[in-house]
């Protein structure tokens, strides 16, 4: 079997600044991997390169035997890599349900004129979109809010809607960018359960960025640590916790004067 997902020596330079340097990793189907590091370490930049939002200065992203490095964002999504955003980016003027339905639009077979003239093929597809979207909302515990405007949701609900929306693109790899940011401990615990459940149910591979150490350590099987764009450690949660480089990156060097 070939590689499921591989990032091969990704480099991202902004002017003279190297945001990410030689980032490499592979993912096996069904894995749950975490990416951690101090602020400004380049974590989100890695996500942006994988999803096509940035074109890496050098290096390649391989997805199921295909080089997707220079594909536009929407085509990468269509190939089965979905993401959520660190700073929530919902479609605020749309309802919760519509937010999820947008994600299913890229799979639509009906042409625009079939939609305009209300052909039965379109109506059938529309009905399926509606039902499936409601399923995803149910999954994330948002079904009762389906007709609300996305902007009127509470913070934690907005985060969950981001996940529901990403799920609706039917990904095989899901990238979560700080899904627990701003959540209280109870919500964070519930979220961890949800993420586990989603992986099980949809057979997802999940790659996530998170600052909440308890969340990451409890959930992920494997963790990568970035600092100033350089991968400084990789391993199981237990290994990472003991790694002196990681401790140094987070807490600074111990000075023995």
């Amino acid at each position: 079997m070939g590689t499921f997902f591989q990032a091969d020596r990704l480099v991202m330079q902004f002017g003279g600044l190297t945001a990410v340097n030689e980032f490499s990793m592979t993912l096996q189907p069904g894995e749950l991997v975490g990416l951690i590091g101090p602020n400004g370490a380049g974590k989100t930049t890695v996500f942006n390169m994988i999803t096509g939002a940035y074109t890496p200065t050098s290096g390649d992203v391989l997805w199921q035997e295909e080089k997707i490095t220079r594909l536009p964002v929407q085509l990468i999504t269509a190939r089965g890599i979905a993401r959520t955003f660190q700073n929530i980016r919902l479609f605020n003027d749309l309802t919760v349900l519509e937010n999820v339905m947008v994600s299913m639009h890229h799979k639509i077979r009906s042409r625009f004129w079939e939609a305009m003239l209300g052909f039965s093929r379109y109506r059938e597809e529309r009905r399926r979109m509606y039902e499936e979207s409601m399923d995803y909302l149910q999954e994330m515990g948002l079904a009762h809010l389906a007709e609300e405007k996305a902007s009127s949701l509470a913070y934690g609900q907005q985060r969950r809607l981001e996940i529901a929306r990403a799920l609706a693109t039917r990904p095989r790899l899901l990238l979560l960018d700080e899904p627990a940011a701003g959540m209280n401990p109870l919500e964070t615990m519930e979220l961890a359960e949800m993420v586990r459940g989603l992986r099980q149910k949809y057979g997802l591979t999940i790659f996530l960025i998170e600052h909440d150490m308890k969340f990451v350590m409890g959930l992920c099987e494997r963790i990568k640590v970035l600092d100033y764009g350089i991968t400084i450690a990789e391993g199981t949660p237990a290994e990472i916790q003991k790694n002196p480089d990681v401790i140094k990156a987070y807490l600074g060097e111990q000075k023995n004067a």
């Binding site: 980016r89 919902l90 003027d93 749309l94 339905m101 305009m116």
Partner: protein, 343 residues
């Protein structure tokens, strides 16, 4: 009775009522009333299709006057008989094949729409490379280019002299028929998942792309559809006023459309319809301010252009105090009127 059947029935009743009103006006209304109603229908067509780009896609497009001009000239050149054309083009003869062809009204209208669409397609590639203010400036430029071309290409447009003596084909049935078809089709598009994708692009283009939406494809779709209906409306306009010249299609026309959709509520089709109706009616009602007024003791001389001052003031008031317009982004629908939980 389920909602779908009820809505269909109510739509049918609404159309019959509209037909009845139009019939009464076409039979007993004065020319003045009929002209206002025709204007209203054409403005509705223009505003609703303009709103598809500016309101639904969230793109500040400032060149719909170009689409209207192209539609108007194409339709006019097609309906005129070769004889009329010879009489019109006195300075420079009309080039072949325009000089020889003649088509029925419906075909001419459609051709006007198609020509506008072709033009929209050609400019879409430079236009959608940019966004925001830059896009506004590019489209504004294209609008001006078309107006200047209308002035300069004497062999096609007869230059500043314009085309005169078009047959007054546009009656209430044509204008309102086109308006109804436009509103129905564009509403359907907006309510479909294509419309959802367009609104998603408006709200957050980056997120829309990450959810698999191709911005260019959807913006182009909206642009072309909007151009088509604007072109058809241009053809109607030409055969309503029977004389067209480049001065009719200046940025002023775009500005008027902008007033309609902003006052009505950017992003709401109902709002665009209301805005267009108010504008058409207000444009006539406010004619008083341009005629001399006798205030008992003294007389104010009429100031031409005063109406536009008032419209501009209204626009400013709307932008400052009711920024979302009459309707905001809401739609008036049967569900909204009759259901407790509209969807």
């Amino acid at each position: 009775m389920d909602r779908q059947k009820r809505n269909l029935l109510l739509n049918g009743v609404g159309l019959i009522l509209l037909g009845g009103v139009l019939f009464l006006f076409s039979r007993y209304g004065s020319d003045y009333h009929i002209r206002i109603l025709n204007n209203m229908a054409i403005f509705i067509t223009l505003a609703v299709s303009y709103n598809l780009i500016n309101g639904i896609c969230g793109i500040l497009h400032l060149g719909p006057n170009a689409f209207v001009a192209i539609g108007a000239y194409t339709a006019a050149l097609l309906t005129m008989s070769p004889m009329e054309k010879q009489l019109n083009f006195i300075i420079q003869p009309l080039i072949w094949p325009f000089s020889a062809v003649q088509a029925p009204f419906l075909l001419s209208l459609l051709a006007g729409g198609v020509m506008a669409t072709v033009f929209a397609f050609l400019i879409s590639f430079p236009v959608f490379r940019v966004r925001g203010d830059y896009l506004a400036i590019v489209t504004l430029g294209f609008g001006e280019v078309i107006r200047v071309l209308c002035n300069a290409l004497q062999g096609v447009t007869n230059g500043p002299l314009g085309l005169k003596g078009l047959s007054p084909f546009t009656n209430l049935w044509w204008s309102w028929g086109v308006a109804v078809v436009t509103v129905l089709l564009i509403t359907r598009l907006i309510n479909s998942s294509y419309g959802l994708a367009m609104k998603a692009i408006r709200d957050d283009e980056t997120a829309a792309r990450a959810m698999g939406v191709d911005p260019f494809r959807h913006l182009l779709l909206a642009f072309l559809i909007s151009a088509f209906f604007s072109g058809v409306a241009g053809g109607l306009l030409a055969h309503l006023i029977t004389t067209i010249s480049p001065s009719l299609f200046t940025f002023f026309l775009t500005f008027n459309l902008l007033i309609m959709i902003v006052v009505g509520g950017l992003g709401s089709t109902t709002g665009a319809v209301l805005g267009a109706m108010l504008f058409a009616w207000g444009g006539e009602a406010l004619r008083i301010v341009e005629s001399p007024m006798n205030l008992g003791l003294f007389t104010i001389p009429g100031i031409p252009g005063m109406r536009m001052v008032i419209f501009s003031v209204i626009l400013m008031v709307v932008i400052i105090f009711v920024r979302r317009g009459i309707m905001g982004q809401k739609e008036l629908s049967w569900g909204w009127i009759f259901d407790r939980n509209p969807r």
